[in-house]
Symmetry: C2
C-alpha cells in the first residue's frame, strides 16, 4: 500500500464534525472558514525525518530551512499567504536545535511568517514537524480537485533540477506565483514528489485524466529526472486558456476519463517519491 492509498484509507475513516471545514485531508492544505472571517485559513503539516527525508550529514541549517520551505510550498499551491508556523523539533542537542532555527528564521523573515509555537524534545535522530497556517481571500483557495476536461496543464518553471543536482539546492516556495494564479488557474498542486505522481494526484482528486505533451526540462536534467525526480517545488496548475506569458511552461491537457497519465501515446505509471515506502 502506497502513501497515497494509506492517506486515502485514513481519509475515509475520518468523520467531519465541523461545518467550518471547506477541505480536509487530501489537498496540500486544509481549508477552514471561521465564522464571520474575511479570509479562509489554510493549514499544512510537513514532517522531515533524518534518514527518510534527509541525511544525517546534511547541515541542520539546511534541514531547518527546507522543512519550512516545503510547508510554504503547500501554502503557495493553494494561492495563500503564510502567517504563522508551529515547529515541533526533536534533536540530540541544544546546539542542533539552535542551528535548525538558524536555517528557519531567515526564510520565516523573508516570507513574513511568525513562529507562534511549537514543542521540543531530545532524541538521537533529528525530526522536525512544521505546521504553517496561512490565509487566502474567502473562497479563492486553489485546489487540486477542480481541474476540468479541456484545461491546459502548466508548470511554473523547468523541471528536474533538484534530481539532477542530487537534491542539494534549496527550494524557493513559489508564493508570489501562487497568489497570481488565484482566479486564473482552475486547479493547482505543488511538485514535491515529481511531475508524474503529482499530476496523477491532481487527476485522481479531480476525476480526470491528463495527456503529457511536453516535459519542460531543466538544462541539466534528463526526462526521467523531470518526470519522477521530485523536490522541484514548482507549481503544477491547470488553465482554461493558454496565455502567452513568460514564466509559464506548457505540459499538456486535461481530458475526461478515469485517472491516468499518457505520454507519447503510452500510459505512464504514476511513480514518484513515496515517503512511506521510500520507493521511486
Amino acid at each position: 500500500m502506497s502513501e497515497l492509498d494509506l492517506i486515502e484509507r485514513l481519509r475515509r475513516r475520518v468523520p467531519v464534525y465541523s461545518s467550518q471545514l471547506v477541505a480536509g485531508i487530501g489537498d496540500d492544505c486544509a481549508i477552514v472558514r471561521p465564522r464571520g472571517a474575511k479570509d479562509d485559513i489554510l493549514v499544512t503539516t510537513d514532517m522531515m525525518l533524518e534518514g527518510v527525508h534527509f541525511r544525517a550529514s546534511d547541515s541542520p541549517e539546511y534541514v531547518g530551512r527546507k522543512a519550512l520551505a516545503r510547508a510554504l510550498s503547500d501554502i503557495a499551491a493553494m494561492g495563500g499567504e503564510p502567517r504563522f508556523c508551529f515547529l515541533s523539533i526533536a534533536a540530540p542537542s541544544e546546539d542542533i536545535v539552535d542551528r535548525l532555527y538558524a536555517g528557519i528564521l531567515p526564510l520565516a523573515g523573508e516570507t513574513q511568517t511568525t513562529i507562534a509555537g511549537g514543542d521540543v524534545a531530545r532524541t538521537d535522530k533529528v525530526m522536525i514537524d512544521v505546521v504553517v497556517q496561512g490565509v487566502v481571500p474567502r473562497g479563492q483557495a486553489l485546489r487540486r480537485d477542480t481541474a476540468k476536461p479541456g484545461d491546459f496543464v502548466c508548470v511554473s518553471g523547468l523541471l528536474g533540477r533538484a534530481a539532477a543536482r542530487n537534491y542539494v539546492d534549496m527550494p524557493e516556495p513559489r508564493l508570489a506565483y501562487g497568489r497570481r494564479l488565484r482566479a486564473r488557474a482552475t486547479a493547482c498542486i505543488d511538485l514535491s514528489d515529481g511531475l508524474c505522481i503529482d499530476l496523477y494526484r491532481l487527476c485522481v482528486a479531480s476525476g480526470v485524466r491528463a495527456v503529457i505533451m511536453d516535459v519542460p526540462l531543466h538544462p541539466e536534467a534528463t526526462t526521467e529526472q523531470a518526470l519522477y525526480g521530485g523536490e522541484d517545488y514548482e507549481l503544477l496548475f491547470t488553465l482554461p486558456r493558454l496565455p502567452t506569458r513568460r514564466g509559464l511552461q506548457f505540459v499538456g491537457r486535461i481530458r475526461a476519463g478515469y485517472p491516468q497519465l499518457t505520454y507519447e501515446g503510452q500510459p505512464l505509471e504514476p511513480l514518484g517519491h513515496d515517503h512511506f515506502h521510500g520507493t521511486h
Copy 2:
C-alpha cells in the same frame, strides 16, 4: 539549560510579523485573531516520541489517544473548544499507523474534533505530533500570564494519581471545566508536568510568586507525587475570590514578587518533568 529556558531563549529570537497574533510562544496555545472573525483561534502542538514520552511496550492505541488528549488539555487550559486536528505520524508499519488512529478516533469523536490533515512516514520508532486548532469567543481565552497578587490558586481535581499509578491511566482533557472557567478565572494552565513546575511557569509568565498552602492529594498519591509527578492533566487556575463550590481544590495564594514558590515556609525548587532533559 532546561526546556523552559530553551523555549524562552527561542521566544526572544522570534520576530512577530503579524498583528493577528494575540499570544505566541509561551502559553499552552497560540491565540490568533482572524480579520472580522467572531472567535479567536487557538493552536497547540504536542509531540510524543517513543523512548521519551512513552515506552516501546505501550500499545499504539494508548499512545494515539494520549497524544490527542494532551493537545486537547492545552485547549481546555485556554477555555477553548477543539475543532480540528492535524496528525503527523512516523511508524514502522501501516498496522501501527492504523492502531494509532484506532486510539485517536474515539476521543476525536467524543470531543467533536475533526481530523483535517497530517503527514505519514516510515521509521523504526513511533513518533506522533498532534496539532489541535480550537476556538474561544473573541478575547475570552484563559492565559497563564494574567494571574494577580491576591488571587486564589486552585486545581480542578486531586493530584498525583498519574504518578501513583505509574502513568498507565488515560488523561481526560478537562474541556467542559475549562469552558466554565472563562470570565471566572484570572489565569489558567494545564498540569502536564507537575503542580510545582506548572505553577512556577504560571508565576514566571504572570510576574508573580505563589504560596502553596495545601496539596490536594489523590488517595493513592504521596505529596511528592502530587507536587512533581505530572501527567494529571487537571487545570491549575487562579480566582479573584474563593467560591464555595464542589469540584474545585484550594492550593494557595498568588503574591507580588519575583517568581518563586513557597511551601510550608520553604522555597520550593521548580522541578518537574522536562522533556528536553528527561529529568525530574
